[in-house]
Amino acid sequence: MNGALLLAVGGLTAVGLYLVTGRSLSRIVLGYSLLGHATVVALIAAGGPAGRPPIAGQAEPEAMANPLPQALTLTAIVISFGLTLFLLALARRQRTITGDDLVEDDLEDRRIAASDSMPGEPEDQAAT
């Protein structure tokens, strides 16, 4: 395991988590992107030490980096790319409708939390 990459993973995760817990949709997208980076770097770091590109004929097999985690990571990059783009499209749509990019609280949940009785409960019970 590579210590420098380990720290990079930790840093990316921490900043990513900080951003996704914000209220602005654009920062959530940014944070999500950083969390994706953290994951792919973690995969690569866990897959073995650095080496020559794994291309047969261009390097001795012993000097190559492990190709298997690279193949997995490639999938991870592409899927997280797809999801990020979709998030961006949703965010743009929200901006078109509300004029802003803030994540609103769920009003129904707030109402339930504020009221005394659960929905559908006999009212006289709540009073006693």
Partner: protein, 749 residues
């Protein structure tokens, strides 16, 4: 056969639910078919000593299976459940007016209960037992709340559900502990257990049984449940469902009976309920409530006898179980008929029914005498057996059980006498609606059954005896129709005389309607539970996405704590090349910059910087394909980000310092947790990758020299196809969202 019957029940139940509107009242007669078939099957098996069983594996690895087993004891219970069930369906046909509301729903639910109850008594695996146990609680809830617009019915239904389903959870905990000590989940295979775990488990099982069988202090739900239509009260709340706890104590008796705590708990619940129930029956003026409180008392007697566990006590308990189902069922049905025809069941307003309802009166007197334990009825045999069992005990147990049985019997006679005298005796003549045969016939059959049982005690002896043997009695003596001039008979005579005079004295005293002591306690604790639930959900489900995420991330970070012990840096090197350290610092720096900048455009650029730094990490690592892909992807995302947000000039919303500190702490913890997890995982490195084999295979079999590409297009071709599909779907979604009208929904177009 077992599965066949269950499937028949379920099929008819579904049919009733689907056609509830069209069938109306006749749905009740359709619903009577499966219980009738089952009752006939159980009757043909009476006295058969060979148990039948059936099972279907569910999760074999976890020892989860639906296992059913019908032995002699269970066979008697089946006959009670289905035989009385059949009678109740017919009775309900007479009870409801044609075209009354929700009869189809009622028939389907009643049959669903019948199915669940059969599953409960047939279950051999404790997990099947638990599932059906909870199903009976749920169907009971639905049936109590049948008049679903009535506030009182709603409250009563909820109370019953909270107490019985809550007790079910206690039972589940108990069963987990007991099966752990017993080493098997099959009740029929359990051997006597001991030890602290088993003791705790046994106590929890007993508490679960006590909630279902309405034992003090869990009894208040049973009187409240009398708000249900009378067929339900007769079926669920006297003959069958409330017996579930008793049946549980009976079948677990052989395994748990040796534990002192089991017996102590059972006696405490049982004896307390015998007295408190009987006192309740003497205090109330609603005929149905009198019977319900009487049921609490009789269930206490059953729990007492089964937890004593001697051969005589178990035999007495099995006999009383049968007798009680017959006489209490009959009495409820009679009260229901009175309620329907007289329009009231308050014993102050009833009178002279002996003359105007002769059949009902005869049935009630027969059933009442059986309840009081007078000859020549089955109840007499049961009570004689109980007294004999109590007298055969030794030590303090003899005193407790003897006192409970004998003094309890006196009170039973007293409330029976008071009930019969006040309902049928002299008084103002009550006006009556015309007779309905569907109402009187089932009641008469149940009432006469007590007499028939007494007369046919010879053959019945074998049946009850083999049942008692299975419920834990080692050797079984015979029941006697007439004990002869013994001490038992003397006690019986005194009990009858004392009880009858007490009952007659009390029946003339028309006191005030007493307050419900227990119910207030139950309501308060249920209210407290609801308040707690409201407070919890208000706190947890407050609707704020950031708070949800912080809660989840914090919890996940804490879950990484145990891995701290496994962290080892033996396999961690600082870097492969110093360049990696530089790049790591760059990546973190870009990420931090990204979180500090104030405008979205700058943030987008910082994101690009971080992405390029990650691509450089790939290059250094020897992952050229990744670096290329990363660069392309990053460029697309930065462009997309700027398109989506770039012209939003407003700066990011301000947040409070404290909340920001919380988020930073949790984020830091999350980052640390990932580092800890990875460092812990690196302790056990996998084998060296077979690089040269991969290189050779890539060229020879994959036909390409780039190993990563060969893996993606050959080895993981299907995954890659899926990936392509994901991207295509995303593209469609993005396109749809981008082309959607720019006007908000609902505005004029």
């Amino acid at each position: 056969m077992i599965f066949g019957l269950l499937i028949l029940h379920v099929a008819v139940c579904v049919l009733l639910a689907a056609t509830s509107r069209r069938l109306g009242r006749s749905g009740l007669l359709v619903g009577a078919v499966p219980p009738a078939v089952t009752a006939v099957w159980a009757a043909t098996r009476l006295g058969d000593h060979q148990p039948v069983s059936a099972d279907v594996a569910w999760v074999p690895g976890l020892d989860l299976a639906m296992t059913f087993r019908v032995d002699a004891f269970v066979d008697i219970m089946t006959l009670i459940v289905s035989g009385i069930g059949f009678g109740v369906f017919v009775y309900a046909y007479g009870y409801f007016a044609p075209g009354a509301d929700g009869i189809g729903r009622f028939a389907a639910t009643l049959l669903a209960f019948s199915t669940a109850m059969l599953g409960l008594v047939w279950a051999d695996s404790v997990w099947s037992l638990f599932v059906f146990w909870e199903l009976t609680s749920v169907t009971s809830f639905l049936l109590i709340g049948h008049k679903n617009t009535d506030k009182q019915a709603q409250v009563a239904a909820r109370q019953a559900l909270m107490i019985t389903a809550g007790g079910g959870l206690v039972l589940l905990a108990g069963l987990l502990l007991v099966t752990r000590s017993a080493g098997t989940t099959l009740i029929s295979e359990m051997l006597p257990v001991d030890g602290a775990t088993a003791t705790l488990g046994a106590v929890l099982v007993m508490v679960g049984a006590a909630t279902k069988s309405a034992q003090v202090p869990f009894h208040p739900w049973l009187p409240s449940a009398m708000i249900a239509p009378t067929p339900v009260s007769a079926y669920l709340h006297s003959a069958t469902m409330v017996k579930a706890g008793v049946v549980l104590v009976a079948v677990m008796g052989p395994a748990l009976g040796g534990l002192p705590a089991w017996k102590a708990c059972g006696l405490a619940f049982g004896v307390a309920s015998i007295f408190w129930g009987a006192i309740g029956a003497l205090r109330h003026r609603d005929a149905k409530l009198v019977l319900a409180w009487g049921t609490v008392s009789q269930l206490g007697m059953l729990i007492t006898l089964f937890s004593v566990g001697t051969a005589k006590a178990v035999l007495a308990a099995v006999t009383l179980l049968v007798a009680h189902a017959l006489f209490k069922g009959a009495l409820f049905l009679v009260v229901g008929e009175i309620d329907v025809r007289a329009g009231t069941r308050n014993i102050d307003e009833l009178g002279g029914l002996a003359r105007s309802m002769p059949i009902a009166c005869t049935v009630a007197v027969l059933a009442g005498l059986s309840m009081a334990g007078a000859p020549p009825l089955l109840g007499f045999v049961a009570k004689e057996a109980a007294i004999k069992a109590a007298l055969a005990l030794e030590g303090p147990e003899a005193w407790i059980v003897g006192f409970g049985v004998i003094a309890g019997s006196v009170l039973t006679v007293a409330y029976t006498a008071r009930f019969l005298v006040t309902v049928f005796g002299a008084g103002p003549e009550t006006a009556l609606a015309p007779r309905r045969h569907a109402l009187s016939v089932p009641a008469a059959v149940l009432g006469l059954a007590g007499l028939v049982g007494y007369a046919a005690l010879g053959p019945l002896n074998g049946v009850l005896g083999s049942a008692a043997r299975l419920a834990g009695a080692a050797e079984v003596s015979d029941l006697h129709r007439w004990p002869g001039l013994t001490l038992d008979l003397g006690i019986s005579a005194i009990v009858l005389a004392l009880g009858a005079s007490l009952g007659l004295v009390l029946s003339r005293r028309l006191g005030h309607v007493p307050a419900e002591y227990g119910a207030r306690w139950a309501d308060a604790s249920i209210e407290a539970t609801m308040t707690f639930g409201r407070a919890t959900s208000a706190r947890l489900q407050h609707g704020s996405l950031p708070v949800y995420l912080v809660t989840m991330a914090g919890t996940a970070a804490l879950a990484a704590l145990p891995f701290l012990g496994y962290v080892s840096f033996d396999h961690v090197v600082a870097w492969d090349t110093p360049l990696q350290a530089v790049l790591a610092v760059t990546v973190i720096g870009a990420a931090l910059a990204l979180s500090f900048v104030g405008t979205r455009l700058a943030a987008g650029l910082a994101l690009g910087a971080a992405g390029i730094a990650v691509a450089a990490v790939f290059v250094v690592h020897g992952a050229a394909d990744l670096a290329l892909t990363q660069l392309l992807v990053e460029a697309a995302i930065v462009v997309g980000f700027v398109l989506a947000f770039g012209h939003l000039s407003r700066s990011f919303p301000r947040v409070g310092l404290r909340w920001r500190a919380v988020r930073m702490t949790v984020a830091g913890l999350g980052g640390a947790a990932v580092v800890v997890g990875l460092a812990a995982a690196s302790r056990s490195p996998v084998a060296e990758p077979p690089l040269s084999e991969m290189a050779t295979a890539s060229v020879d079999e994959g036909g390409g020299s780039n190993i990563v590409n060969v893996i993606l297009t050959d080895i993981r071709a299907l995954d890659t196809l899926g990936e392509v599909l994901v991207l295509a779907t995303v593209a469609l979604g993005v396109l749809a969202l981008a082309r959607a009208s720019d006007r908000p929904e609902g505005s004029a177009s």
